[in-house]
């Protein structure tokens, strides 16, 4: 990374935006009055295709460049983000089939395009870093035009599996474009932040699955949100079940339709026809996310023959079933990887372009219990546009940190600050259910980063008096209740049971025969080791007790139990 050209704007004069630099599409956002605004570029696009095209020395980007995939594929560079910071051997050039092909030059991934106006000019060999710099310059230029001031800095989202080489390649590409990189933040957490920054959001301890279904890759992540601190517990990356795969299905479908009417002509064999098919298939897919019917029409698809057809959503969902199920399996596998159960998940955030598809959301709704909140446009009316989640999060983060010195930001994101112990067992207090059973009340949930402080208010016994505050550790396990065998075919999903913590008790519950029964699965807290006991004496009738637990960095636990509204309290410390 070149230190020389790193722009260093003064924190007071920074204009910082959020940037999502995706493999298929990019977005830019800016915070106005504490609200993130996704910026539309000159063409009016908020999802700006990550494509650069050169026609007679003129540079085009975004949707204009994408349209040149039909007429000028050789000088159009697309899907280059994932090549940044990688060597030629490890890249996957599949998606570049219909645009400029990557080549190896000077030890880096490069593209050969004619970017000069002269007719007979030699094609230039541009490294992927140079392409990225040019693209980012255009992207940031659009943002500057919108804001009316020169953008100096940006927070950029990256997938969780970006290597250090990729990160530094991205940073230097930005620096070369004259933009300071304030921070690189991971895409799923940016999406979470976009939801958590809504004014109506309440701070809660949540377990969140972020399903980012993008154009050329899908990433699913399990994020523990504990008091506003986010920890990634598990992540999976997939290059099969993507928006591109859905396009492919539609391309094949319509190609066959065309061939039915025009036997012997396969539009997929001609590059130009294929490019036209792809473009139309993508808009058809988008239309089907909104309406139940979509038309598909291409003029002069192949051999001068126009083609018009329609497709309804049901048919679309049938032919794309494999991909949709792939998404669902992907989500399941990540939850498994995090050693959790679908019952542990409080929220599912659907992000990325393919998340607009209603079927994807409804599949996930079936996977998760009723209590899980699925945040997608088709299931939740107030959901944020899934395509804009990450860039909103990035813009919010940019707004948050733009006032700090670059050195300060570096220090704060250092591993010494970010790597902290997380409690694996929940810590809580014992309460009594009406039937006299001891019930665990979690105060500090699992996977909470320490130091942590939580307070709950628990009612005292009806008559008041002396109260026992028993601080215990707790675990969850999945309790499966098998109903009496029924003859009726179960229509519910047959989810594989995976016990989160404790598998001894219910290991026999998951097998083939249960597929026919409707089983009842629930998350049950189990009381573990007792950590401490304390007594609050003389609580008034109908009084309440505030129990506050603080786990310090050295893992010592401070317990405070206080009668609400009085000065009657006990405090004790468990040294770690």
């Amino acid at each position: 990374m070149s230190e020389m050209n790193t722009p260093k704007p003064d924190p007071d004069n920074r204009i910082a935006i959020g940037v999502t630099f995706g493999n298929a599409n990019s977005s830019i956002a800016y915070v106005v009055d504490d609200k993130a605004e996704v910026i539309a570029n000159e063409d009016g696009d908020r999802q700006i295709p990550t494509i650069l095209s050169y026609v007679e020395g003129e540079e085009y980007y975004g949707q204009q460049a994408k349209n040149f995939l039909v007429r000028n594929p050789k000088n159009t560079v697309a899907y280059f983000r994932d090549f940044l910071g990688k060597d030629f051997k490890s890249i996957d050039p599949t998606h570049n089939h219909a645009s400029a092909h990557p080549i190896e030059a000077n030890g880096t991934v490069s593209f050969q395009v004619k970017d000069k106006a002269e007719e007979d000019a030699e094609p230039s060999t541009l490294s992927v870093a140079e392409i990225s710099t040019r693209y980012i310059r255009r992207l940031v230029g659009s943002a500057s035009d919108y804001i009316g001031k020169k953008v100096t800095s940006a927070v950029i989202t990256i997938p969780t599996n970006f290597t250090d080489a990729q990160k530094s390649a991205l940073t230097s590409a930005c620096n070369d474009a004259g933009v300071e990189v304030l921070q690189l933040i991971s895409e799923p957490v940016a999406a979470v932040l976009a939801y958590d920054a809504r004014p109506e959001a309440v701070l809660a301890d949540k377990m969140i699955v972020v399903a980012d279904l993008g154009g050329t890759r899908s990433d699913v992540t399990v994020v523990a949100s504990r008091g506003g601190l986010y920890t990634v517990l598990a992540a999976a990356h997939d290059y099969e079940f993507t928006g591109e795969a859905l396009d492919k299905i539609l391309v094949d479908h319509f190609a066959k339709e065309f061939m039915k009417k025009n036997p012997g002509i396969d539009p997929r064999e001609n590059d130009r026809s294929l490019a036209k098919l792809k473009l139309e298939a993508e808009s058809c897919k988008k239309a089907l996310s909104i309406g139940a019917n979509a038309s598909f029409s291409v003029e002069s698809l192949a051999q001068g023959i126009d083609f018009t057809s329609t497709l309804n959503r049901l048919r679309y969902e049938t032919i794309s079933r494999t991909v949709f199920e792939g998404f669902t399996r992907l989500v399941e596998s990540v939850i498994k990887k995090a050693e959790l159960d679908v019952l542990d998940i409080d929220e599912v955030i659907l992000s990325g372009g393919a998340s607009h598809t209603p079927r994807v959301a409804s599949n996930l709704k079936n996977l998760f219990p009723e209590s899980t909140n699925i945040l997608a446009p088709s299931t939740t009316a107030t959901a944020i546009n899934p395509s804009e989640l990450q860039v909103r999060g990035a813009a919010l983060q940019a707004n948050l940190i733009q006032g700090y010195e670059a050195e300060d930001i570096n220090q704060s994101t250092h591993a010494a600050v970010t790597t902290v112990p997380h409690v694996t067992n929940a810590i809580g207090v014992v309460s009594v259910s009406p039937s006299g059973e001891e019930v665990f009340v979690p105060i500090i949930p699992t996977e909470t980063a320490v130091p942590a402080r939580r307070t709950v208010t628990v009612p005292a016994p009806k008559d008041g008096g002396d109260v026992l505050v028993k601080i215990v550790e707790g675990n969850t396990h999945i309790k499966v209740t098998k109903p009496e065998p029924k003859t009726q075919e179960s229509s519910s999903k047959a989810a594989k049971v995976e016990d989160a913590e404790d598998s001894n008790e219910d290991s026999d519950a998951s097998d083939e025969e249960e597929e026919e029964e409707e089983e009842k699965r629930e998350k049950v807290w189990k009381i573990g080791t007792t950590l401490a006991e304390a007594a609050v004496r003389g609580v008034k009738k109908g009084g309440k007790v505030e129990v506050s637990i603080t786990v310090n960095t050295d893992l010592s636990v401070v317990v405070t139990a206080k009668e609400a509204g009085t000065k009657n309290f006990v405090r004790g410390t468990l040294s770690g």
């Binding site: 600050v417 320490v450 006991e533």
Partner: protein
């Protein structure tokens, strides 16, 4: 904070512990896992702050609360509270044109620098204090003159156009150019005082930023930029505020137009006067500016240096040429003198030789006379003549050395025979050498 529905258990009988707290287990230590939290979001910012400053939750809460409290104090009106003097309070509303609006609102230390927000807050504060309803309720007269003044001041100052017009004629904000007495202190006073003058004048500038006056360390470029800026000053200052009221009655149009014309002319005149004033200010400053003098001196020193060097070189060259010429002249003179001396010496030698030859010839002639012309008795004139002729012939045939030798031989000889033998010998020698023919020397062979 979460609220739970199920109640806590009652304290069992016989439960007791020191200070009512009984630690049981320390199991938490084993049950943790190192993970990386994502450095994103406001809560992470708080976490980073706590970790980096090693604060606990309650410490951080307290410090944050204090910081917030400080902000509240800044929002307080402390910056706009000024004591009200009785003169201001006694202002009459009808004289609003002459009142100092900033002073009325208690912003006299800010003047043109006051922000809109400050003006708004100051206005509100004054209104709350001087509202006529409050005055009457506290038993004072219902004189609302000052309240009207406040309203008028806010009217003017909250309208950007009117405020500019007022600021244009706000003499209170002017800084007087320093007097000689003030400048006599020396040091940096000059820069400080003039700097303040131009800082206050800069408020009229259309172009921002206005270059600083600088100090004695400013470079030539900075100083030149400063003066260039000010000599080409682009001012927004207008003098509409001092306009005479235009009568708005429709019955006398001519009167109205006349006043308008008068106002326009007055404005123009004042603008010209103001430009002249600024020009004079600049001239005064420039004249007294030590930096300019220093730069001029430096510039002329640099120029003179060149000239002096050239002159010195020329002088040196001239001197060298002169010295060479003199040396040449001297050498020529010496050569000439030497030649002259040589010539004279030659001449002398020649004359001496001539004299010697004459003398020798005389000796020769004398010798033949002594020998009585080789005849016995008185020699006849013809003999004398013949002998003398022969002697002269011999003398002419021999060179000076031989002549001298011959003369030496003959000198002192008195006897005729001896003389004759010498001559004979000489003649023989000459004849044998072929220089003289025997026949020519008749007398000696006689």
């Amino acid at each position: 904070m979460t609220t739970i529905t199920f109640p806590l258990p009652s304290l069992p009988q016989g439960w007791a512990a020191e200070k009512d707290f009984k630690p049981v287990d320390k199991a938490i230590k084993e049950a943790t896992l190192e993970r990386t939290i994502e450095p994103i979001g406001p809560h992470f910012l708080a976490h980073a702050r706590r970790t980096r400053h090693k604060r606990t939750f309650s410490e951080d809460d307290r410090i944050q609360a204090q910081e917030r409290a400080k902000k509240v104090e800044v929002d307080d009106d402390s910056d706009i509270s000024e004591p009200e003097d009785p003169m201001t309070l006694a202002l009459q509303a009808k004289d609003w044109k002459t009142q100092d609006h900033y002073k009325v609102l208690g912003l006299s230390k800010y003047r043109w620098r006051a922000t809109e927000d400050q003006i708004k807050r100051a206005h509100r504060k004054k209104v709350l204090r001087h509202h006529p309803d409050k005055r009457t309720s506290s038993g004072k007269t219902d004189d609302d003159n000052f309240f009207k003044c406040i309203q008028k001041a806010a009217d003017v100052l909250l309208d950007p156009i009117k405020r500019r017009q007022f600021d244009s004629v706000d003499e209170e904000a002017d800084v007087e150019p320093p007097t000689k007495k003030q400048l006599a202190k020396g040091g940096n006073t000059f820069y400080k005082l003039w700097g303040n003058v131009f800082k206050s004048e800069a408020r009229f500038s259309n172009k921002k930023p206005v270059p600083h006056f600088g100090d004695d360390k400013s470079t030539k470029e900075e100083v030149e930029e400063f003066y260039n800026f000010w000599y080409n000053f682009d001012s927004w200052r207008t003098f509409e505020y001092l306009d005479e009221d235009v009568p708005d009655d429709t019955e006398n149009r001519d009167q109205k137009r006349h006043t308008e014309r008068k106002n326009a002319n007055a404005r123009k005149k004042k603008k010209i006067e103001d430009n002249a004033r600024l020009r004079k200010l600049l001239d005064d400053c420039l004249a007294a500016d030590e930096r300019i003098k220093r730069f001029q001196k430096e510039a002329s020193a640099a120029k003179n240096k060149k000239r002096l060097e050239r002159e010195a070189a020329e002088k040196k060259a001239a001197e060298e040429a002169k010295a060479q010429k003199e040396a040449e002249e001297k050498a020529a003179k010496e050569a000439e003198e030497k030649a002259k001396a040589d010539r004279e010496a030659g001449k002398k030698a020649k004359e001496a030789a001539k004299n010697a030859a004459k003398k020798n010839k005389r000796v020769l002639r004398g010798s033949v006379k002594d020998a009585n012309y080789f005849v016995a008795g008185d020699a006849s004139a013809a003999v004398i003549d013949a002998v003398t002729k022969d002697v002269d012939l011999v003398a002419s045939k021999i060179d000076t050395d031989e002549l001298a030798a011959l003369a030496g031989k003959l000198n002192g000889l008195k006897l005729a025979d001896e003389i004759k033998s010498v001559w004979k010998g000489e003649v023989e020698k000459l004849v044998s050498a072929g220089r003289v023919k025997e026949s020519e020397l008749k007398a000696f062979n006689a």
